[in-house]
């Protein structure tokens, strides 16, 4: 096949860059789950809902497409109880990617006491977490990758992940682990050089040592991104330009990747306004320069060996060993004492807990912005912090902003009697909660406002508590159709 070239991971804010004549992007990578929602109705129960209109728009983009999963990583044993493969298959059919990739991470824990429904028995981790780097995980990941490849009917690759933990006693090196997963699964590699550089900066194996162990002919795609310092750590934050040392690594290794088919820049949408679209275009021009270092050739993307027998690569004891790691990690992140004392002492666990907290609060900020603003203004920073921490202890993370917000709304309703002095908190929370209930459950709500709601929301949007307002009683009906 022809190599696809240079591109970006898709966000709607990047549309102008992709649609302009002579766009510097010749390929666009889509993360389907980032555009799903979860919804519930009595007939279907809980299910994912894709954004079909957006998929139609993406299919019409002139760039070649790649699909990069972000919701169903292959490094763990806990599967998603909701149907996701059909939605991913639909995206593959519509976008016709040359290959599909996922993360070599885990993002779900088992909750044996969670309740009778399958969804209650799984806890979302709130983050992509590192797997244990063992032969057992290698076999489990290979099975997961081959199942995905079989379902997608496309070549499959995995991304080399970021890992903020210290190397665990007895685990495989980063390079040996990535190589073993690639060879066992007969899959490709999405080489994230910023992730590898983060890992090296944070005390793990050097990038050159990792690269020396990788089967370079399996690297189909390279990811480059920016990051930020946080205390002693360098974070893979996708927040801006590519650091110079990562550019140097890319320039050195790209000529040595014989099957490289795509070179991608990653930036999160909330950072695009700060960087600017022109600067994003400049980063893509930089990638074009690096792409030119690659000897032009046709790229062979392995279709992969036929799926293994039903028993797969992994044995029951492999899955038990991986499950034990998941339990240890869950305990450490929940603030309980894991059996592994070294993991309990690892400052990387505290960092992960902090990043999960950020992720949850960001979701609340998106879906309950006016409620959170009222709390911050009315209670102050310290009491709001205490409230958010109490909520986090009370309720597990949710992968979707709507579900996190619905859970938090229920928590706030349970305490709202403590804050009768906060102007219009009940009305603002009821309004935002009603929008979420309409979207997620299709429920309609009748709301009563004692004042003009637009004046309340305008004040909050300006970062101010609403002033005393003249009474204007109105009834508002929020209806989902």
């Amino acid at each position: 096949m022809q190599a696809l070239g240079v591109g970006v991971v898709y966000w709607p804010i990047l549309d102008p860059l992709l649609r302009e004549p002579g766009s510097p992007a010749t390929v666009v990578e889509i993360e389907p789950q980032a555009f799903w929602e979860m919804s519930h109705d009595d007939r279907h129960g809980w299910r994912y809902r894709p954004n079909e209109a957006l998929l139609d728009e993406l299919a019409a983009l002139p760039q070649a497409k790649l699909i990069h999963g972000v919701g169903h990583p292959v490094g763990g044993t806990v599967t998603d109880p909701l149907d996701h493969l059909n939605l991913l298959q639909d995206a593959v059919t519509q976008l016709a990617p040359a290959w599909v990739s996922e993360h070599l991470s885990l993002n779900r824990f088992e909750r044996p006491q969670g309740g009778p429904e399958p969804l209650d028995q799984v806890e979302h981790a709130g983050f992509l977490l590192p797997p244990s780097q063992t032969p057992a995980t290698t076999r489990v990941a290979a099975d997961n990758l081959q199942r995905l490849r079989s379902a997608m009917d496309r070549p499959m690759a995995f991304e080399t992940g970021v890992n903020y933990l210290r190397p665990q006693a007895g685990e495989m090196s980063d390079g040996d682990f990535f190589a073993a997963v690639a060879e066992t699964s007969d899959c490709g590699i999405v080489l994230d050089l910023h992730n590898l550089w983060c890992n090296a900066c944070n005390g793990r194996q050097s990038v050159d040592e990792v690269m020396a162990r990788l089967p370079l002919e399996r690297v189909w795609e390279v990811h480059l991104a920016g990051g930020m310092r946080h205390g002693a750590y360098w974070l893979d934050a996708h927040n801006g330009r590519i650091p110079e040392p990562v550019i140097e690594l890319a320039a050195r290794w790209i000529p040595k990747l014989p099957a490289l088919g795509a070179l991608m820049f990653e930036i999160l949408p909330e950072h695009v306004p700060t960087l600017g679209l022109d600067e994003v275009a400049q980063e893509l021009n930089l990638l074009q320069t690096m792409w030119a270092l690659r000897a032009p050739r046709l790229v062979h993307v392995a279709q992969g060996r036929p799926a293994p027998p039903a028993t797969g690569h992994s044995r029951p004891e492999d899955r038990a060993a991986v499950r034990a790691w998941e339990c240890q990690l869950a305990a450490a992140l929940h603030g309980e004492a894991p059996a592994d004392a070294a993991l309990a002492r690892d400052p990387g666990c505290a960092l992960l807990a902090r990043l999960i907290q950020d992720f949850r609060r960001a979701n609340l900020t998106r879906a309950l912005r006016f409620t959170l603003t009222t709390l911050l203004l009315g209670l102050g920073e310290d009491d709001t912090e205490a409230l958010l921490q109490a909520y986090a202890r009370h309720s597990p993370p949710q992968p979707f902003a709507a579900l996190e917000a619905e859970q938090f709304a229920a928590f706030v309703w349970g305490h709202i009697g403590h804050w009768p002095h906060l102007p219009h908190l009940c009305e603002v929370l009821a309004f935002e909660h009603a929008l979420i209930r309409a979207s997620v459950h299709g429920h309609s709500t009748q709301l009563h406002w004692s004042v003009d709601p637009t004046q309340v929301l305008e004040a909050l949007e300006a970062g101010l508590l609403p002033p005393p307002l003249p009474p204007v009683h109105s009834v508002m009906h929020i209806q989902a159709t």
Binding site: E31, Q33, A34, F35, W36, E37, N51, E52, L54, H68, V70, G71, G161, N195, M228, H230, L235, D236, A237, H238, N239, G240, L268, E270, H271, L355, D358, F359, A362, N363, T365, R366, A367, R369, L372, T373, L376, L377, E381, P399, F400, A401, A402, A405, L435, A438, S439, G442, D452, P453, T454, L457, E458, S474, V475, H477, I478, Q479, A480, T481
Partner: protein
């Protein structure tokens, strides 16, 4: 009698409408904007391995707006 059903969600969400009685005087266009803003952000947060700073930005904006420019410069390097 409805004044109108002026708010709807972006394509991702169910269609969500706001109905108010015809005698209500407040700005429904404004409510439409707010509704679309909330409903457009209910999905999965996407892939990241670092800080997601939206709450920090909101907190700084609300508690001490004057620090926000400094924060932005730090975040954006």
């Amino acid at each position: 009698m409805d004044k109108g059903s002026l708010s709807r969600a972006p394509a991702l969400s169910r269609t969500v409408r706001i109905h108010v009685p015809s005698e209500v005087a407040y700005d429904l266009e404004r409510m439409q904007k707010v509704t679309a803003s909330v409903l457009g952000k209910l999905g999965c947060g996407g892939c990241h391995s670092g800080h997601v700073l939206e709450f920090v930005h909101l907190r700084d904006f609300v508690i001490n707006p004057k620090t926000l420019d400094v924060q932005e410069q730090f975040i954006g390097h």
